[in-house]
Subunit: 333 residues, 2 copies
């Protein structure tokens, strides 16, 4: 019997995600999916939270890093990996590189957050300061990688998407009756991975992306069907993308059922609601899925809803500011 | 070949903990043990955190509840379980009872924390208000259980200790070279379980208990070799025990290498340090192990140290108060 042709030769498939599983689970355990009665009452639905904040480095991206690093050639292993990020992508590559005994270099702009630089170094990565912003650091490190014959790893590479998809498979295994999965979108790897997995298994599962209204470039590009750039002023670093990535846009346009924007104030309120109801710390991106569910609560009524808490890397100063602020009914944002 | 006689007929053994594993893992996954470079630098040792806060109901005790409820007789299943607690013990029994389709009743005093009452009810337990404090609620519900032929479940029953011991086995499986395990002590089930498991596998593993200096009854009883009661003014509900339990005292006297007291101010500082370095919310009891490690850092230098983050159920108001307080160097408390 001939195998079915993939619909588009170059698009990632469920098969790639399944193949990633042993590479990912060699180093980490599946994360829990818990139902919370308080959040369920708040939304008027059956609300589960997928705890990607429980992973090493505190974010879903480590799954992608592990899948990518496991597949390096001997030459690539020898010449090392290069990224430009002090965020979850950079930490994920640093973690996976260390696990496999590969050298990782991360370029960051002058004045990058010292706590995050320390976290990268704690994971064994070499951190190099260069330039005044991340774009300059990225351009510089891409050239450095080329000069040294090393591999530059961008944030939405296919092997990263395949590794990330393992969390979506876990959601559907733990909750086969899931109706809606809400996923925060930064570069789009999480939303793409979730959409590929969910639609391949059960096309009736709705996959909804969410970005901040204070950094809407990816959502606007998705809605317009072409690349759009937009202001980027969000407090949620994990959602702050200025220019869309072609590969994730293509997948999201094919598969996402909806893609919404939430205000930063609603994200901040959602961080406090998650602390209150789940006792988990979420970073802005990680709380955006709850903020979206609150906004969409009419549509979600009575459904089985999984919220991806994509990461927990909020700094103590960021959290402190949430408590120092006068209380407002921003949760309804 | 004859089996070795247990050293004391009535004392729990490693065998009981191993037997508990399938009953526990039917409903939950092993929790991660992560090394944190920031905490390791702070203590001057290799510091791992055992994330019992990642469990359902956010605390280690659920392991014990699952082991106990799985072994109920048909008659006990029919007549239900009775506790007096809105804390982690009560939630643990409620969770396990629901998982097994058994009715759970929890007595609480008038004016008990509404958030915790809601959490118990969210887990399907019947919450009954009675009396002015927990002692009265406990006496009343013990009689109620007797009248109805139901089973009252106290916080340090042997089957609870056996279930709880599964986390200690996980620590040693993940980190066979562990030198020291620091465990918060409320009733003592966690410390007893850890000590039984660790000493049975490798007697050189040091097990250190910690309680608050603002609620030292269990530590003082351990040190004195007889029951001592003491004031109870700690902010860490999970460490607040007024009168020692005979069974856990017996095990702790036999096995614990040390048992220290930390000031509430040091516990509060440790909650913030855990948020900063691990992005996990700890309740007071859960942070006491880090507070103890900071106090004992000279003794721990260079060692492999596992800190049990026993639970994460800190309320939003409790956390808010930590941020509203003027900053002091209390971490050295």
């Amino acid at each position: 019997m001939a195998e079915a042709e993939p619909e588009r030769g170059s698009m990632s498939s469920l098969r790639d995600v399944i193949a990633a599983r042993p590479r990912v689970y060699r180093y980490l355990k599946p994360t829990p999916l818990y139902q919370y009665s308080g959040l369920s009452t708040l939304i008027g639905a059956k609300v589960w939270v997928k705890h990607e904040n429980h992973l090493p480095v505190g974010a879903f991206k480590v799954r992608g890093g592990l899948n990518l690093v496991a597949q390096l050639s001997a030459a690539e292993r020898g010449s090392g990996l290069y990224t430009a990020s002090t965020g979850n992508h950079g930490q994920s590559i640093a973690y996976a590189a260390r696990a496999h005994g590969v050298h990782a270099t991360s370029a960051v702009p002058q004045g990058a957050n010292p706590g995050k630089v320390a976290a990268m170094r704690g994971l064994g990565a070499e951190v190099v300061f260069h330039g005044e912003d991340f774009d300059r650091a990225r351009v510089w490190v891409t050239q450095l990688a080329a000069d040294r014959g090393g591999r530059y790893v961008g944030p939405t590479e296919e092997q990263l998407i395949h590794g990330v998809g393992t969390y979506a498979l876990e959601i559907i295994e733990d909750l086969p009756q899931v109706d809606v999965i809400i996923v925060p979108v930064g570069g789009g790897s999480g939303a793409c991975a979730t959409a590929i997995v969910a639609k391949s298994i059960n096309p009736r599962i709705q996959v909804i992306g969410v970005q901040s209204a204070q950094a809407p470039a990816i959502q606007m590009s998705w809605a317009a069907g072409k690349a759009v750039s937009a202001d980027m002023k969000t407090i949620a670093e994990g959602l702050a993308t200025r220019v869309p990535f072609e590969n994730t846009q293509r997948i999201m346009r094919k598969y996402l059922d909806d893609f919404v924007l939430v205000e930063d104030a609603a994200i901040e309120a959602a961080i406090l609601l998650l602390l209150e109801h789940t006792h988990n710390l979420a970073e802005g991106a990680g709380a955006a899925s709850l903020a979206a569910a609150i906004m969409l609560s009419r549509k979600l009524a009575g459904k089985n809803v999984a919220l991806v808490l994509s990461g927990g890397n909020l700094s103590l100063d960021q959290l402190r500011r949430l408590f120092e602020r006068p209380r407002t009914p921003a949760a309804q944002g």
